[in-house]
């Protein structure tokens, strides 16, 4: 597990937008910038660590109450503005994802973090259904509720392929404890049970990703690597504009034909029996 969650997020936010200062009035852990990409002017969003956060359980790159509501507000701003411009092109929304998890705290639960997380997921999904291409660039960690809140509602998911990239429902150690296994047992099982794997190359086999990118220096990217990422995001934007606006590409992709066979089978059975 990386001890540097959020470093990559900030690096890539700056590389793609030229900015790294938070919006005045927003918590320093949420970066928002509008910047050109291809022929578009996109809104970029990123959650980064804020060691002085007023919420102690949301200071190391976790998505907490403030982060989730800020994301939701910054997304809804774009939806509202573009909705007012009749017939205009909907601006892309790019989530740069490097989130350790959701915030695990008492204040968070009292304050209804489930609703905050829902509000952010809602805003992303609403943007997508309204025709905004929503693209996630997973540069580091994308764990559990943190990822559901920030990034998992995107039309297209792009991930870097290296061992620091973690896309999962739970970090390895607690997942092993809760399922009463050792980490070694979990790792052995993950070799045959693909959805258990912590390897992003295995994640790619599930059919959920639009593209996997091999970046040699994700923490100090070269200009060539930055332009490769920009081109990939632009291609994903164009692809997302073709539709569909729901998430069906995730179970209709070629990899999903085998990896998500059971999902497809149960879906087909329900369709078949729905009107019987």
């Amino acid at each position: 597990m990386s001890n540097f969650t959020g470093i990559r997020g900030r690096i890539w936010f700056k590389a793609l937008t030229g900015h790294e200062a938070p919006t005045p009035g927003d918590p320093p852990s949420v970066l928002t910038a509008d910047a050109p990409i291809g022929d578009d002017n996109a809104r970029f969003l990123c959650v980064v660590p804020d060691h002085d956060s007023r919420f102690p359980c949301a200071s190391h790159g976790e998505v907490g109450l403030e982060q989730a509501y800020t994301l939701a507000a910054r997304i809804r701003e774009i939806i509202g503005a573009d909705n007012a411009k009749d017939g205009g092109k909907k601006r892309p929304i790019i989530a740069i994802v490097d989130v350790k998890s959701q915030a695990y705290g008492r204040r968070e639960e009292i304050g209804g973090i489930h609703l905050a997380a829902a509000a952010s997921a809602d805003a992303y999904a609403t943007a997508r259904f309204a025709g905004h291409p929503v693209i996630s660039l997973i540069v580091g960690q994308a764990i559990s509720g943190g990822f559901l809140t920030h990034g998992y509602q995107a039309n297209r998911l792009i991930a870097f392929a290296d061992k620091e990239v973690l896309i999962h429902a739970m970090h390895k150690e607690p997942a092993a404890r809760i399922t009463r296994r050792t980490v070694a047992q979990l790792e052995a099982l993950a070799k045959t049970v693909t959805p258990l794997s912590y390897d992003v190359e295995d994640y790619a086999k599930l059919g959920l990703l639009y593209q996997l990118l091999h970046i040699k220096n994700p923490e100090a990217p070269s200009p060539e690597e930055i332009s490769l990422v920009r081109d990939t995001i632009s291609a994903a934007i164009a692809d997302a504009r073709q539709g569909p606006f729901d998430l069906r590409t995730r179970f209709e992709s070629e990899a999903a034909l085998t990896a998500r066979k059971a999902s497809r089978q149960i879906r087909a059975r329900l369709e078949q029996q729905w009107n019987q």
Partner: protein, 313 residues
């Protein structure tokens, strides 16, 4: 106090205790029903039909290899029929199977049911959805496919709720946690019993991740004072609080279906909830009551805003 007054008071007490126990006896617990019975109980008699049921035998392909016996319905029941004459699909999770955890199959079942209801609405055939949520969230044995399924569920609820209400019922002690708390969060209405619980992270997970000082998972009263149905209702995070009584739950579901799509969904009210959080001092640990109407009025210097004020995008 005279003897006769004492006797009278005693008699009244005995009488009210008797009435109370009769009420309990006449109550048909919803929680004690299994998932299939709970789903069935909501429909108009003779109209419920189970889809992709246990005889279709579409099980999780991931459990057996991990030493877990799969279940033929994967712990998720889908039923179609009418409720008070309205076409409805009910999706019920069984807390008894893997803690109601969302696996590949159970998750895809819910998503597909919501999508099919969505198609019917688009065709001009109104169809509502009711989710009976007894779930700890993602089933860890199916980790990434469970998490992916939850993202798809959230998306499909948001698509369907434009045309028809999506009602979450959180009745039993398993509660609704993890990623599925977001699914409840984006739904049109949340119904809870005092026995139900709702939150993103359960007490054990918080204790595990942030330490016992942050959350003592053995402190029952703390748990209920934060996650319990009564508290979530007091906070305005649940729409209806109802006793664990099948008739009352049926009546509530019927009323909410009749009410239709709300003018604005709770998870769309970003400015309202964001300002509530902003108004609270986070420098010390919060008491569960910090978000009650009274303390909100104190901390913001104004009355609690009505829930429907914010603009809808």
């Amino acid at each position: 106090m005279t003897d006769s007054a004492d006797i009278a008071t005693g008699r009244d007490r005995a009488k009210s205790a008797l009435t109370l126990s009769q009420e309990y006896l006449q109550r048909h617990s919803f929680i004690e029903l299994n998932a299939r019975e709970r789903a069935q109980s909501l429909f108009d008699p003779g109209t419920a039909r189970e889809l992709a049921g246990p005889f279709d035998r579409i099980e999780s392909p991931w459990l057996f290899v991990q030493g877990v016996t799969p279940q033929a319905d994967d712990g998720c029941i889908v039923m179609r029929g009418t409720i008070d004459g309205n076409e409805t699909v009910v999706i019920a999770f069984s807390g008894a199977f893997q803690g109601g955890g969302i696996g590949e199959v159970s998750g895809a079942k819910l998503t597909a049911a919501l999508d099919l209801a969505c198609i019917d609405n688009e065709k001009g055939k109104p169809t509502s959805a009711v989710m009976l949520l007894e779930t700890g969230g993602v089933r860890l044995q199916e980790a990434n496919l469970g998490l992916a399924a939850v993202a798809e569920i959230i998306s499909s609820i948001i698509a369907l709720r434009r045309d028809a209400p999506v009602i979450s019922v959180i009745a039993g002690p398993v509660g609704c946690f993890g990623g599925m708390s977001l699914a409840a969060g984006v739904s049109s209405y949340i119904v809870m019993t005092p026995e139900g619980r709702l939150g993103l992270n359960g007490p054990e997970v918080i204790e595990e991740e942030s330490g016992v000082d942050e959350f003592d998972a053995s402190d029952r009263s703390l748990i209920w004072s934060i996650f319990g149905g009564q508290q979530r209702y007091n906070q305005g995070l649940a729409d209806v609080l109802v006793e664990d009584d099948t008739d009352q739950i049926i009546k509530t579901v019927r009323e909410l279906i009749a009410k239709g799509v709300p003018a604005v969904h709770r998870s769309q009210q970003v400015d309202l909830y964001r300002s509530r959080i902003a108004a609270l001092d986070a420098s010390s640990q919060w008491a569960p009551s910090v978000w009650s109407a009274a303390s909100l009025a104190r901390s913001t210097g104004r009355n609690q805003e009505p829930v429907n004020e914010e603009e809808k995008h």
